[in-house]
C-alpha cells in the first residue's frame, strides 16, 4: 500500500452556518458546521476544508470559533480559506486549530504574503488556491468568485506560488464550478505535471466517476467536492468504495 488519494468535503461557511454555492451565487443552507464536520469524519473524510465566504468583516471572527470547536473533537487535518489577508490572519487561524490555511485573492494582490507565511509557519500549512478559467487556448486566474479577470496565466502562476513556498495547490475551474459536469481535467493535469507539490482538484463534481477521473486523468492528489456530499446524494464512503473499485488507492 502506498499514499492514498484524499477525498475532501468542502464546507462553505457564512455567518457561522454552512452553505454551498452554485457558481458562487444562489446559496442554499445545509446546516451547522460542527455537526457536519463530525458527520464527515465518521464517514471517513480524509480532511476537511472550510471556506469562509462571510461578506462582512464584523462577522469574520465567527470562523475562529467554528475551527476551535471542530478542532477539539475531530482529529483529521483542517484547512481554512476565504478572506485570508495577512500573516496575522494566518496566525489566528492556525492558533484556533487549523492545520492549513488557503490563500487566494491575497496571494495575487500580494505574492510576498505567501513567501512570508511559508517562512514563518512552514510550507506544509500554506495552500494557494486558484480560480482559473479558460481564455482562448490557455487558462487565466480570476478573482472575486470568477468575476474579475487578472490576465495572469494559471500555469505560470502556480509555478511561481510553489517557488514562493506554497506547500499545496487547490485548483478550481470556474468554467466547471457548480455545473456538475466534472473537473477540468486538462487544467488539473497540466498543473500537476508542472509542479512538485500535491494538488487538489475542485469545481464541477456531479457524480462519483468525476472523482475517479480527477485522480486518473487529472493527476490530482486529492479531490474536493461540496454539493454531492452535502445533500446526501453520496456519502464519503460511497465515494471511496467507488474509487477503490476503480483501482484508486483510498483510505477505508
Amino acid at each position: 500500500m502506498t499514499l492514498s488519494k484524499r477525498i475532501i468535503p468542502c464546507l462553505d461557511v457564512t455567518n457561522g452556518r454552512v452553505v454551498k454555492g452554485v457558481n458562487f451565487v444562489d446559496l442554499q443552507d445545509a446546516g451547522d458546521p460542527v455537526e457536519i464536520a463530525k458527520n464527515y469524519n465518521e464517514q471517513g473524510a480524509d480532511e476537511l476544508t472550510f471556506l469562509d465566504i462571510t461578506a462582512s468583516s464584523d462577522d469574520r471572527d465567527l470562523i475562529l470559533d467554528i475551527i476551535e470547536s471542530v478542532a477539539k473533537q475531530i482529529f483529521i487535518p483542517l484547512t481554512v480559506g476565504g478572506g485570508v489577508r495577512s500573516v496575522n490572519d494566518i496566525r489566528r487561524l492556525l492558533n484556533a486549530g487549523a492545520d492549513k490555511v488557503s490563500i487566494n485573492t491575497s496571494a495575487i494582490l500580494n505574492p510576498e504574503l505567501v513567501r512570508e507565511a511559508s517562512n514563518r509557519f512552514g510550507s506544509q500549512c500554506i495552500v494557494v488556491a486558484i480560480d482559473a478559467k479558460k481564455v482562448d487556448d490557455h487558462w487565466e486566474i480570476f478573482t472575486h468568485g470568477g468575476r474579475n479577470k487578472t490576465g495572469i496565466d494559471a500555469i505560470e502562476w502556480t509555478k511561481k506560488m510553489v517557488d514562493y513556498g506554497a506547500g499545496e495547490l487547490l485548483i478550481t475551474s470556474m468554467d466547471r464550478d457548480g455545473t456538475k459536469s466534472g473537473f477540468d481535467l486538462e487544467l488539473t493535469q497540466l498543473i500537476s505535471d508542472s509542479v512538485e507539490v500535491p494538488i487538489i482538484a475542485s469545481g464541477g463534481v456531479g457524480n462519483l466517476s468525476h472523482l475517479v477521473d480527477g485522480v486518473k486523468f487529472g493527476k490530482a492528489d486529492a479531490v474536493l467536492a461540496a454539493s454531492i456530499f452535502h445533500f446526501g446524494e453520496f456519502s464519503i464512503r460511497d465515494a471511496k468504495d467507488y474509487m477503490k473499485k476503480n483501482d484508486v488507492e483510498v483510505r477505508l
Binding site: 500500500m1 502506498t2 492514498s4 473533537q73 506544509q124
Partner: protein, 204 residues
C-alpha cells in the same frame, strides 16, 4: 502529567486537544519551561516547519538540555520534526540534530517513480516489531503524513514502522523509553488517538 514541549514552532494545540479528548483524566500541558519538562512524567516532542528553525529555537530558549535529559529516561514521544531532530544531522540546511540517535535526515527525491513532495496525506505504516504503542492498531493502518524529509537510521533494531513512498522509509522508531513517528497521530483519526492513548499508559 504529560508535557508537550513548545519551542515556538507551529501549532501544538491539536496535540494538546487530542490528549484532552482521548485521556481526559490525565493532565497535559503545553510548556516551554525546563522545570516543567524535568518534572513531567511523560514528554511529547512535536515539531513542524523546517528543522534548522526548530533547532535554533530550542537552543535560543535553553531547552536543549531538558529535552536530552528527558529523552534519556522518561516515556518520550517524538512527532514529525520531533522524530527527525533526534538524529545526528539533517540535509535540511546541513544542520546538526540533537544526536540522541545515530543516523541522518534526508530529502525525498522524485526519481524514476515520480512522487509529489511534500509527502502529504494518509499512508500505511507496516509494523516491524510488536511495540506496546502499536497496541490495538493493525499493521498497515493508515496515518496522516506531511513532510519532505525522512530519517535514515544507522542502528539496527530501532525501526518500528516502515512506509512506502517512492522507496521504503522509516516512519516510526523506538529505543528504550523513546518512541518517535514521522506521521501525525494527532491528525490521524481513531488510529492516531489510539497511539496517543497507548503512549499515555506506556510503561517502559
Amino acid at each position: 502529567m504529560i508535557a508537550i514541549i513548545d519551542y515556538g514552532m507551529g501549532n501544538l494545540k491539536s496535540v494538546h486537544n487530542a490528549f484532552k479528548y482521548i485521556v481526559p483524566s490525565i493532565t497535559s500541558v503545553v510548556t516551554s519551561d525546563p522545570n516543567v519538562i524535568n518534572s513531567a512524567d511523560r514528554i511529547v516532542f512535536p515539531g513542524q516547519g523546517a528543522m534548522p528553525d526548530c533547532i535554533r529555537e530550542i537552543e535560543e530558549r535553553g531547552l536543549k538540555d531538558a529535552i536530552i535529559n528527558a529523552a534519556a529516561k522518561k516515556p518520550f514521544l517524538g512527532i514529525c520534526i520531533g522524530l527527525q531532530m533526534l538524529f545526528d544531522k539533517s540535509d535540511e540546511g546541513d544542520i546538526t540534530g540533537l544526536q540522541i540517535l545515530k543516523g541522518s535526515v534526508r530529502r525525498f527525491i522524485s526519481g524514476k517513480e515520480k512522487i509529489k513532495i511534500p509527502h502529504m496525506g494518509w499512508n500505511s505504516v507496516s509494523h516491524k516489531n510488536n511495540h506496546p504503542l502499536w497496541r490495538n492498531i493493525s499493521s498497515e493502518e493508515r496515518f496522516y503524513f506531511v513532510h519532505s524529509y525522512y530519517v535514515k537510521e544507522e542502528e539496527s533494531g530501532i525501526v518500528q514502522g516502515q512506509t512506502e513512498y517512492g522507496q521504503t522509509f522509516t516512519s516510526a522508531i523506538a529505543k528504550d523509553n523513546l518512541f518517535a513517528c514521522q506521521f501525525h497521530p494527532e491528525k490521524s483519526g481513531s488510529a492516531g488517538l489510539q497511539l496517543l492513548k497507548n503512549f499515555s499508559s506506556w510503561v517502559c
